[in-house]
Symmetry: D2
Subunit: 149 residues, 4 copies
C-alpha cells in the first residue's frame, strides 16, 4: 500500500472498530475560532480510556496496572469548532507485551473522513513502582478485539 493510500485509509471511518460520541465545549475553541490543537489529545485520551474501562475492565481508581503515555502524535486535516458534535475512534495498530500503540481519529458526526488522525502509545506499569508490567489478560483480549491486520 502506498503512503498516500495508507493516509487515506487512516482517515476513513470504516478503519476504526470503536467509536464514541464527544461533545465539544465552549472553551475548546481558541482565539482563532476553532478547537485548539491541544484538545484533540484530550479527545484521544478519552476515547481510549473509555474503551479500556468499558471493554477491558481497566480500574482507573484502584487497579494495580495503569497506562502511561510515552509518545503521541496528531495530524490535523480540517478544523472543527464548538458547538459541533464529534466522534472519537480507535483501533489497535501494534500490541506488545507491556505496550500498545493505538490509531485514533476524530470525526465530525456524519462525516466519513476524519478531521484529525493520530496515534499514541501506552506502556502499562505497576501503579506503585511504575515499572512495566504485562498487559492483564482482560485488557489484552479487549485490545485484540480492535486490532487491525
Amino acid at each position: 500500500m502506498s503512503s498516500q493510500a495508507s493516509a487515506e485509509r487512516a482517515r476513513a471511518r470504516s478503519s476504526y472498530p470503536y467509536h464514541q460520541r464527544i461533545t465539544t465545549r465552549w472553551m475548546d475553541n481558541d482565539i482563532y475560532g476553532h478547537v485548539n490543537n491541544v484538545n484533540y489529545y484530550s479527545y484521544f485520551d478519552t476515547v481510549v480510556n473509555q474503551f479500556l474501562v468499558e471493554r477491558g475492565g481497566l480500574d482507573i481508581h484502584a487497579g494495580e496496572v495503569i497506562g502511561f503515555i510515552v509518545e503521541s502524535h496528531c495530524s490535523y486535516h480540517s478544523p472543527v469548532a464548538f458547538p459541533q458534535q464529534l466522534e472519537g475512534a480507535v483501533r489497535v495498530d501494534k500490541l506488545g507485551n507491556s505496550s500498545v500503540t493505538y490509531g485514533v481519529a476524530i470525526f465530525v458526526v456524519g462525516s466519513e473522513q476524519a478531521a484529525a488522525v493520530g496515534s499514541f502509545t501506552h506502556v502499562f506499569v505497576d501503579r506503585n513502582d511504575q515499572r512495566p508490567r504485562p498487559i492483564p489478560a482482560p485488557l489484552r483480549a479487549a485490545l485484540q478485539g480492535i486490532a487491525t491486520g
Copy 2:
C-alpha cells in the same frame, strides 16, 4: 418558599427547561479521582452558549454582540467522575436590558437530583467597543422561553 425548599428546587431536574448531554473526559478527573471543580464551570459555559447558538441565533464568530461573564457561582453536592455521562441544564432566573442571570445545574444521566448547582451572569456587549448593548430580539425571545416565574 423557605431557603431549604428553594435549594431543593434548584436541584430538581424538572426545574430546568433546557437540557443537554455532556460527555466527560479523561482529564476532567483530578488527582483525587473526581471531576475537578473547575470543569463544572466549563460545563455551565457550554450548555448556556449552546442554547444561545441553537435557539437564540448567537453568532460567536462574527456577531456584533457577545456575552461577557461578570459573575459565577457553584455549589457542589455530590462528586461525578469520568467516564460518567452528564447533562447540563439551564433556566433564566433574571432577564435585564443588557444582562441575564442563568440558573445552571449538572446531572448524572438518569438522576433527578443535580450533582452541582450554579449561576452565572452574562452582560451583552458590543464586540468592538465592549460596552453594554441591549440584548438582541432573537436572543431575548429565546431567553424568555426558558425564564422561570
Copy 3:
C-alpha cells in the same frame, strides 16, 4: 464597613498575605480574545493548593486528608489575556473545624487592583471514606498564618 468599602478592599493587593506567579497559556484565551471565565477557578485552585503544599505540608499524592471543594464564586472586574503575566493571591476568611473559606484574587503583575475576586470553601475529608476530618495541625497553623481579622 460598607458593602462598597468591603468590595474595594477585596480588590486591593495589600489585602492578601500570600501571592504567587501564574503564567497564562495560549489556550486560556477564548474565542473573544480574553482568558475564559473558567480558567480563573483553575488559578484559584492552584494558588490555594500550592500554599497548602508549601506551607501546610499537604501531601496531595498520599496524605490521609484531602480537601474537597463544596462552593466557589468569582466576580470578574476587568479582562486579562495571554500573554499577560498574572499573580494569584489568597487569604483565609473563615476557619472552621473541618472547613476553610478562602478569599482569592487574580492580579495582572504590577497592578494594585484585582482583575477578579473570588472565594471558595474546602472541606477536609478522609481520602478513603471521604468523611469530614478535623484540619491537621500543620495545615491549621499555615491557614491561621494568612487569616484576616
Copy 4:
C-alpha cells in the same frame, strides 16, 4: 549523527535558544498524579506563541496572518507534576515559505535534560480566507534567530 545522539541532543537544555517559565496548575495533574500528557501540548503552544508575540510581533487579536497547526508530536521521557516549576523551550528546525517546524521541549527548572521533547508545524494563513501566506518579514526574522543548523 546517530539516531541516539540526535535524541540525546534533543533533550539537552543547551539545544534550545529560547526558554520561558511555565507554572504548573493543580488540575494539570491527572488521576495518576502526574501532569496529563495533553497539557504538554498546551505548554508547547504557549512557549511558541509567546515567542512569536514578543519577538516576532505576532498580533493574535487582529493580525492579518495567523498560525494554524497541521501536525504535532511529543515523546514523554520522565513525569512531571504540580507544583513543580517548568520551563518551555523552542528552536526552529525547518523554516519554509509559509510554514515552520519547531523543536520544543519541557524542562523541570534546574534540569539539563528535558522531561519531554516534541515538535509541531505551523502554517501561516490569512485570518479571513485561511489560505497559506508567506511568513511576514518580522516573524521570519525572529524565527531565523532561533533556527538551528
